[in-house]
Amino acid sequence: MTSRFEPPTTDASDPFWAATREQRYVVQWCTTCALPIFYPREVCPACLSAGALEWRESSGRGTVYAVSVQHRPANPTMADRVPYAVALVEVDAGGGTGDRAGATIRVMSNIVGTDPLAVKVGDEVSVGWEPLSDGRNLAVFAPAPKRA
């Protein structure tokens, strides 16, 4: 397939992209506010502090919040993928077993590895990776294996 548009990075998001090189999905948190933050920021948008930011590992599992199948490519790099599903996915924010166990962040992605026309709001998905040219990986999602 044609290579995708490659996302730029910022100082704030470098740890996210570094983790994708190892195919790990990490989420920024403010420990003071017990708040997952997306997209990554220089400061917590609730308390405006830079001092309590940390990164936590997500399970990579998520739920489709909204989905739209693109029947025309948004740009030439996507032309050979039509039709493809673009979704907003609520991804486990890595809140662990405590008070914030169910916390999620909402991110845009593609749902791959299935018929795009069959993707529905509420579907359970899990993260997969598509390589970018510089060793980073782009997070995409596929239908999750059924839980035991």
């Binding site: 995708r4 548009f5 490659e6 996302p7 730029p8 990075t9 910022t10 998001s13 997209y39 919040y65 909204a66 989905v67 739209s68 199948v69 693109q70 029947h71 025309r72 490519p73 948004a74 740009n75 790099t77 996507m78 993928r81 493809y84 673009v86 979704a87 907003l88 909402r106 991110v107 845009m108 992605s109 593609n110 026309l117 529905k120 709001v121 509420g122 782009l138």
Partner: protein
């Protein structure tokens, strides 16, 4: 602020082919001549300028020296924002006569590029200065802009509330009925729900006929004090209420895809005007897509959240109906040059003046122009009324 400022001049330029001959400053200058003529004012009366590009460049071009200036850019809702700012500025004594001008010619631009042997300007996401989270977190996934963002909102609304493609299509059909009464509208042929559903799927669940037109277009309006307005040529249309709210820039950051910031701006503007939804005679809602207008019905309080689908089935929003909506034919069938909010205000004023001919809503006293900017990002609500509503 209620009733202290009034719109005293309006004009717009559209074309049945969707393409205008004039472009750029030449087209803007034509709009300025026309709007001054409509108001019975001259250029030397203008002491405030609003322009979504650069108010400095625009004023320089026409030799205007304004003491109130505004180049806010919230996308297509910015003309409602300018009206709010102009009314506030006039109320505070910062200016007396504020000119708002707009011209955008995507079609003529392509034709002109072809004539010069250049490659046509690429359509794409607006270039934003500074950090660009959209390039980092959205663009790699290939969501078509802007339709894909609205499609995601429609997807969520359908999943959460059971809204159907037929209900969305009903909005396009009713809006087309208005366009059939407007000789200046681009698309006037009768339309059925089946036509909408049979048109190409662009970004599910939105079909081609769920989407607005892409045309050239231009317009202008002038706002002045209520006192001065009464001495001018045409019946003043008073600003009874105005409010703006925004809660995201890109769709993946929208807090709830089924509720727009119109749920804040609408009630605030209605409260300033002292009206309820039931008092609205004409609703001009920014219909970039059918889902956009459906969300407006809910967020402005014409029905409860989630009930926009059943609402458009039970309430006639077309000619002769209970809630005349987008009486010019809307962005769906009249014109849509990219930033459509100008035309909401122009049509609202024409309805309140009684200038609308075959599509005139009898006895219209209160009209609402509700702009939507970017991807459901910035909503701005203007409540307008005749002398009788003061």
């Amino acid at each position: 602020m209620r009733g202290n400022a009034a719109i005293v001049g309006v004009t717009d330029a559209v074309s049945p082919t969707g393409e205008l001959e004039l472009t750029g400053r030449a087209l803007e200058a034509q709009m300025v001549r026309d709007v001054l003529d409509d108001a019975g004012l001259s250029l030397s009366d203008i002491d405030g300028v609003c322009h979504h590009g650069s108010s400095l460049q625009f004023a320089e071009y026409l030799g205007i020296t304004p003491t109130f200036t505004d180049s806010t850019n919230t996308g297509g809702s910015v003309f409602e924002v300018y009206l709010e700012h102009a009314a506030a500025a006039i109320n505070a004594g910062l200016a007396e006569c504020v000119l708002v001008v707009f011209a955008q010619t995507p079609r003529a631009g392509r034709t002109a590029a072809k004539r010069r042997g250049e490659s046509p300007p690429q359509r794409g996401r607006p270039m934003m200065p500074g950090p660009n989270p959209m390039a980092e977190w959205e663009v790699p996934y290939g969501l078509q802009g802007p339709v894909g963002s609205y499609a995601l909102a429609a997807s969520r609304h359908m999943a959460e509330y059971g809204t159907t493609p037929e209900q969305l299509a009903t909005i396009a059909v009713k809006t087309r009925e208005w366009a059939s009464l407007n000789p200046r509208a681009k698309s006037r042929d009768p339309l059925t729900v089946d036509d909408v559903l049979a048109s190409d799927m662009v970004a599910s669940p939105l079909h081609k006929l769920d989407c607005c037109l892409v045309t050239d277009g231009a317009g202008a309006f002038i706002v002045t004090s209520a006192e001065r307005a009464r001495s001018l040529r045409r019946p003043p249309v008073y600003v009874l209420g105005a409010a703006t709210a925004h809660d995201h820039m890109m769709i993946s950051q929208m807090p709830d895809l089924t509720t727009t910031p119109g749920a804040i701006s609408g009630p605030k503007a209605f409260a300033m005007a002292g009206i309820k939804a039931a008092d609205v005679d004409v609703l001009m809602g920014y219909d970039s897509f059918t889902i956009t207008q459906l969300l407006h019905f809910e967020d402005l309080g014409f029905c409860a959240k989630g009930e926009g689908g059943p609402f458009v089935e039970s309430t006639d929003i077309g000619p002769g109906g209970a809630l005349p909506t987008n009486t010019n034919g809307g962005g769906l069938s009249y014109t849509h040059p990219g930033m459509y909010g100008m035309f909401l205000i122009v049509e609202a004023v024409r309805q309140l003046r009684g200038d609308c001919g075959e599509r005139q809503v009898d006895g219209a006293e209160i009209a609402v122009a509700h702009g939507s900017g970017m991807v459901l990002s910035c909503m701005s609500t203007s409540v307008l009324g005749t002398e009788a509503t003061l």
